[in-house]
Amino acid sequence: MVPGTERAQAAYPYYMQFTAADDQRFWFYNSMHFPEPMSAFDMVTAEAAYCALGSSTTRVHCIPTTLGIDYRIINGRVYIGGNAVTDPREIARRTGEFQQRAFYYYGNWERLYAQWREKMLALIRDAQSLPKLELPEFEPLSNVHSGRGIATNHALLDTYQRTLEGYFRMWHHHFEFLLLGYGAYMTFFAFCKKAFPEISDQTIARMVAGIEAEIFRPDEEVRRLARRAVELGVDDEFREGRTPQAIMAALETRGAAGRGWLDELATSRDPWFNINVGDGFYHYHRSWNDDLSMPFAGLPGYIAAVRAGESLERPIEKLQAERRQLIQDYRELLGSEQERQAYDQMIGLAHRVFPYVEGHKFYCEHWYTNLFFNKIREFGALLAAHGFFAREDDVFQLTHYELKAAIIDLMTAWSNGSPPRGPEHWPQIVAERRAATAEWAKHSTPPALGPVPDVIDDPAIVMLWGITRESLDRWLHASSDVASRELRGFAASSGVVEGPACVVKSVEEIGRVRKGDILVCQITNPTWAPIFQKIAGAVSDIGGSMSHAAIVAREFGLPAVVGTGTATSRIKDGQRIRVDGGRGVVTLLS
């Protein structure tokens, strides 16, 4: 533990603290989902996720060889450990359960998935209909005359609990199909790797990935808005470097055409701009709706393309035909008719499950998560207005238990007519935790703790994190490799390109990206798609070859290397680099 941060560390709940007994176990740093130190509140994203993940693997679908994922936190970093089942009798018993449960899901996939979408939309509607937070001086007369009997301050507790409950529930929906989906994909993936030992991960992903998946939709909306801007004749307002606010203000003065475009924007925003610029695990990864600079950064380039006569429509039929051809061509290369039949069965399964694997993120990590964090932010604003915090986002320095206490403190103060205690209590704690998080970010994080096992065969870990003994060895040795001019990551999208690096550490800097730059960032995800048209290549710290970033990069035909671990810290802004997306190598040239 970093000295001087003990009190900040103690804030996290006891059940995620390391104890002496944990030294005997193997833990690895989940840098894929939690690349930065977690603030006290943001840890709820790990809590709710692992609670639901484990329910699915341990008790709902009963995966024969694994239970759930244990997790711990130190220096704000989330470490996880598998919980394998090794006793053959127990595996056999769980296999019987698994086949009654998971096989039922596979057999009824389309129906259950359609039902899932309805459940998710209902959950989203619930979150949207949570009341606005307010504490009037006197209870509204209508409540009194109707004999409601429950005062308004109670709504704070009720709304908070429903917000938190909905978030935990969302994660159950998230994992309802996920392991089964990945499992079917991995089955096909493992077969391809055996049949074609040198096939790239991205080629397998291309055979399975959907053409009309939800992840492409936000970018498609930006393209649509570019077309509409030209059609309505207001495209001259979209100039590089102009803020969204300035553009929207200018459009207000352009009469029916300008208002027409703003209406189109409103249509796109709900729901498609509910995607956040991260992966949904940090409160500060805001959505396009909260900060329009990302989609607006893409508009000038798309508008120029429309003016140049390009259609900007994704050629859906052509892409589908290419995918069919790819599948057919690899099929022909197989060694026997037996293998071809097995291939057909496995890719059939992968295609059945993949719409869920690709689609769930939009509903869960983006749309719902966004509503959740914004509701918590509303509590932050209310508490800040009552002197608890200097800023609304200080609220994320409290754990969800502490936040409940602060809310009850405020409710009590409103009841009693006394000042709340929070304004004396929280500000110094918030300051201390902010300082600790900043300190933790400066320290390097060991990729693994405890004894390294010989084999990593826990399917949950292999599937969700792509961790094998080989990749672990690579990580463990990466830190000793600082002198090298090369960074290695996952080969996400093939092609070789050289150019100046634009190192972007936050979304606010997105306006700095110029045509021909190689984007270097912590995470690329579908929300970055609008600037993919400008850049020559992409490099990220986090992500796997199945990640959405990789899929979008392939769609744009951009060389990309993801999951390098250290790109944003080792590459300097403006430095010339070479990206070899086929090999997963980034070379520092200057």
Binding site: I63, P64, T65, T66, P88, I91, A92, T95, F98, Q99, A102, F103, Y106, G107, G183, A184, M186, T187, A190, F191, K194, A195, F196, P197, E198, I199, S200, T203, L326, D329, Y330, L333, L334, G335, S336, Q338, E339, Q341, A342, Y343, Q345, M346, G348, L349, D457, P459, M463, S494, G582, R583
Partner: protein, 352 residues
């Protein structure tokens, strides 16, 4: 043109004619048949060898002499080899054969290719055994003089009677009457770059990649292992270039002024330069796929890039043997319930 009794042009023959034109000749004809660019040339058929042998047999036994030696008797084999090689190398070619050869050679030159030729043996036995039958020495490159061509045709034939070839046949008890050899005469390509490619990975047996190896100059430097070639691995279907290894190419083979080839040092600035462009790599990949489809099995292919035109020409294609021999059980098979496949990932083999 008419098919001569002793000579056949590449466009007249295919794999089915191997008994008369040997493995190399048949394969070159087959490539032309598949519409692949091959440097022009002809084959001196086995019949020509038979005619020469007939005239030699009239003077003194040839086949019987070989059949009489015992493989363990090195002195006997050596003596037999020395005598027979000299007889083959010094024999006059039968008049008809000579006449057909000179007409063919004139036509090759008239066809616009004043290029020197390569003369190579084309054995009628399986390729794997070819090396033992004929040795590796009987490829003669960059030959300009017609008289030299005839001399080298005889050298190819004579190699059938090398000590190694005789010993090998005697050990196997291979019947001498079935021993015959055709000879390929083919315009040389003045290669800027040349090399080999494999439609199945030599290292993993993967059928979905094409491995290409090449170096500056004539392909003999690569085939003979005198230079470390550049190496690329391409997705056969996707064209993705997964591996690029650019080596330090110290020497290259070039035509020597007085015929034949010589090794020369590569200029400093070209040594670490890739010897193929990405466009050429993709063209080779396309060719590899076409050839493999045409033959219906994995191939090892020799190719060259013409210095003047930049055109890619194929010099040779033969079936891959190492991995094909290893293929055993299918890695997965059709399952009554497709969900059974999932159990390989979910971690148990106890499922029904």
């Amino acid at each position: 043109m008419g098919v001569g009794a002793h000579i056949a042009w590449f466009d007249e023959i295919g794999l089915g004619d191997r008994a008369q034109v040997g493995g190399k000749g048949g394969s070159l004809g087959e490539l032309k048949r598949a519409g692949i660019a091959v440097p022009p040339g002809y084959v001196v058929k086995t019949r020509a060898f038979e005619r020469l042998l007939e005239s030699l047999e009239r003077e003194a036994p040839v086949r019987a002499a070989v059949a009489a030696v015992s493989p363990g008797d090195l002195a006997g084999v050596t003596a037999c080899s020395r005598a027979l090689r000299r007889r083959v190398e010094e024999a006059e070619l039968p008049g008809e054969v000579l006449e057909e050869l000179s007409i063919a050679q004139e036509r090759l030159v008239r066809g616009g290719t004043a290029q020197p030729v390569a003369v190579r043996s084309s054995a009628t036995t399986e390729d794997a055994a070819e090396a033992s039958f004929a040795g590796l020495q009987d490829t003669y490159l960059w030959i300009k003089d017609p008289a030299e061509i005839i001399r080298r045709v005889r050298s190819c034939w004579a190699s059938l009677y090398s000590v190694e070839s005789i010993s090998y046949r005697r050990k196997l008890g291979f019947p001498e009457e079935r021993v015959a050899m055709a000879v390929v005469v083919q315009s040389m390509v003045d290669a800027r770059t040349a090399g080999v490619m494999f439609t199945r990975s030599p290292t993993t047996g993967d059928r979905s990649v094409v491995t290409i190896e090449g170096a500056w100059g004539l392909g003999s430097a690569v085939v003979g292992g005198e230079v470390t070639p550049d190496r690329w691995v391409l997705g056969k279907i996707t064209g993705e270039i997964a591996v690029r290894e650019i080596s330090d190419k110290l020497i290259e083979h070039v035509p020597a002024a007085r015929g034949g080839v010589e090794a020369v040092a590569v200029a400093e600035e070209r040594r670490r330069m890739p010897c193929l462009s990405d466009a050429e790599l993709q063209e080779l990949r396309t060719l590899a796929r076409r050839i493999e489809r045409h033959y219906g099995c994995a191939q090892d292919i020799e190719w060259a890039v013409d210095r003047g035109s930049g055109a890619i020409l194929l010099l040779q294609s033969r079936p891959e043997t190492v991995w094909s021999a290893r293929d055993t059980a299918p890695i997965a098979k059709h399952e009554e319930d497709p969900l059974t496949h999932l159990m390989s990932i979910f971690g148990t083999r106890r499922c029904p």
